[in-house]
């Protein structure tokens, strides 16, 4: 709603017409120059018409958006509802410029007649909190004699969700421990995938009997299958820093962009398969979502991801964080691994026997944001040393049995998970 005691006020156009017209008439009368009246006569007429159309009603304006929740790259429309605009002829709307917010018409400025209001199209280009729809509205009376406003209209704080590419992955969980799901379990049960042919036990279903083998062996044999279970996925998102330049969706991505979009894609992939997903963000906000399933849980995870602000976690060190990784859970750590503490925590999870995968979101060639006063050469050298440390850390993680893969779309984890599943099925020497 329009705020404050806004009033119609005279325009510069009206003031100019009356001032020049009055001055001209004054000069003509004073020095006796009828030709000057010819010059300023039209301006006086224009000014008089502007005066005659002086508005008498105070209009109201209210802007509203067509959508309250958006994914990055999606668009919505801001429409203006007005009251008492009988005295206004044109309405000008100018939307505030915000980073990662594309507006149409260009610049978010639109001029339309009061009886044919044009909407402004808005498209957030990056996930995160955005103030959408802040604008200024002005109305102009006929003959441009009076103007109402510009009146600021407040926008809406919106958490733009990261985009999700819906691809159902064929990756299986290495150690699914759950109830009913889509992942092949190591134990036998009532699934669909063939496991072995074994002797009949009491309790076996008759339809499982393999008659050909039973006749050959002389005793009843049944086909056993693997149980199919759901799994738990723990997403650990490193939001302690953002490296590289972010230009929004379908453009250059920063490390945090890749991190957030990868987490969203993995959560969508597993929740879509009926699995349980938990999220733990390492950031000042410490966003956390416990294990859950379904589309509502996915929406919750996406909203938490959209709320991320990069920074080091407050009040707690990474070593002290309880990641609440349950037995059999797949742990996906999305991190550029520039923090040694997080690498140590990751190794600790691996040593607990959990399948842990590190997804590297650092885009090639990305650099940190350096303070303008810093020496560029020194900063470049420091970054190179940091990258060397990182490559050493990643090699150590791989040696500890934790695969490290760069993010390459929703199918990134498939091959790694297959390898982990095969590894988990191999016989082990128990000491």
């Amino acid at each position: 709603m329009s705020e404050g005691p806004s009033r119609w006020h005279t325009t510069g156009s009206l003031a100019r017409a009356l001032a020049v017209g009055g001055f001209g008439v004054g000069v003509a009368l004073t020095v006796g120059r009828p030709a000057v009246v010819v010059l300023v006569g039209p301006l006086l007429v224009a000014g008089s018409l502007g005066l005659l159309r002086k508005p008498t009603r105070e209009p109201r304006a209210l802007a509203h958006l067509s959508h309250v929740q958006l994914y990055e790259g999606q668009g919505t429309r801001s429409r203006l509802e007005t009251e008492g605009t009988d005295d206004a002829e044109f309405i000008t709307r100018v939307m505030g410029q915000q980073p990662y917010l594309a507006l149409h018409p260009l610049g978010g400025a639109v001029l339309s007649r009061t009886d044919d209001l044009q909407p402004i199209e808005i498209s957030p280009r990056r996930w995160g909190g955005r103030l959408v729809g802040t604008e200024k509205v002005a109305m102009t009376s006929a003959w441009a004699g009076y103007r109402w406003g510009p009146v600021p209209l407040p926008g809406r704080e919106m958490f733009v969700l990261p985009t999700v590419t819906r691809i159902r992955s064929g990756g299986e969980a290495p150690q699914p421990i759950g109830l009913i799901g889509a992942h092949r379990s190591r134990r036998e049960g009532g699934g669909t995938e063939f496991s072995s042919i074994r002797a009949f036990h009491s309790g076996d279903r008759l339809k499982r009997i393999n008659w050909r083998v039973s006749l050959r062996q002389g005793t009843l044999h049944v086909e056993s299958t693997r149980a199919e279970e759901d799994t738990a996925v723990l997403l650990i998102v490193d939001a302690m820093a953002d490296y590289g330049v972010s230009e929004g969706v379908d453009a250059a991505e920063s490390s945090l962009d890749v991190t957030v979009r990868a987490a969203a894609a993995i959560a969508d992939q597993y929740l879509g398969g009926g699995d349980r997903v938990s999220l733990r963000v390492l950031s000042p906000g410490g966003e956390y979502a416990g294990y859950g399933t379904g589309t509502r849980h996915l929406r919750r995870i996406l909203t938490l991801l959209a709320r991320i602000r990069p920074g080091v976690p407050r009040d707690v060190s990474i070593e002290q964080i309880d990641f609440r990784a349950t037995a059999g859970a797949v742990v996906v750590v999305i991190s550029p691994m520039l923090s040694e503490a997080l690498a140590i925590a990751t190794v600790r999870l691996v040593r607990r026997g959990l399948p842990v995968i590190v997804v590297d979101p650092l885009p090639p060639g990305s650099t940190p944001n350096v303070h303008p006063d810093s020496a560029i050469q020194v900063a470049g050298l420091a970054w190179r040393m940091r990258l060397l440390d990182r490559s050493h850390l990643l090699a150590q993680l791989s040696a500890a049995g934790c695969p490290v893969v760069p993010w390459n779309g929703p199918r990134t984890l498939e091959e790694v998970l297959r390898r982990l599943a095969r590894r988990s099925q191999l016989p082990r020497v128990v000491g």
Partner: protein
């Protein structure tokens, strides 16, 4: 994103400056030629007005044009006055169009057409006054000028009072 000035805004700015120059130079064919300094002052005012249309620069530039004509002419009413009036109306309309929105907003075609028509209609007052002035050129005296001026001022005051009063009520 860096916003650039819309091409239509540039066009209207140029038209506004040309309008002011037309107002000043409209009498050149009849021998009313301004000095280079006056042209420069009006041009400067026009440029300022093109970028700050709500400021005083446009009014001052128009005022210079009015003073130039008042100095150049005595009681004669040449045809050049009509051209000059058209120039001033053009400059006024251009200045008005520029105040509807920020410079990066394109000026819509319907608004442009509306103001071109309005500009032409108000300009029609100039030939009417010109004709009246021509007809009464030999009869008018300084006294009759003063009487006409007083009548105009009185009519203007009544009009202004009529217009302003309802606003005061609505504000309460």
């Amino acid at each position: 994103m860096r916003l650039t000035v819309a091409p239509s805004v540039w066009a209207v700015r140029v038209v506004g400056i040309l309008g002011l120059l037309l107002g000043l130079l409209g009498g050149v064919p009849e021998g009313y030629t301004p000095s280079v300094a006056v042209v420069a002052v009006v041009l400067l005012g026009g440029v300022l007005a093109a970028f700050r249309p709500d400021d005083l620069a446009a009014s001052l530039a128009m005022g210079v044009v009015v003073v130039f004509w008042a100095v150049q002419l005595d009681t004669q009413v040449p045809v050049g006055c009509l051209v000059a009036a058209a120039g001033l109306v053009t400059a006024h309309v251009a200045g008005t169009l520029l105040t509807y929105g920020p410079p990066f907003m394109a000026i819509p075609g319907d608004l442009l057409v509306l103001w071109v028509v309005r500009g032409f209609l108000v300009w029609l007052a100039a030939p009417v006054i010109w004709l009246v002035a021509r007809v009464y050129a030999d009869h008018a005296t300084p006294t009759s000028f003063w009487l006409a001026g007083l009548a105009t001022a009185l009519a203007g005051a009544v009009l202004a009072a009529l217009v302003v009063r309802p606003t005061a009520e609505s504000d309460r």
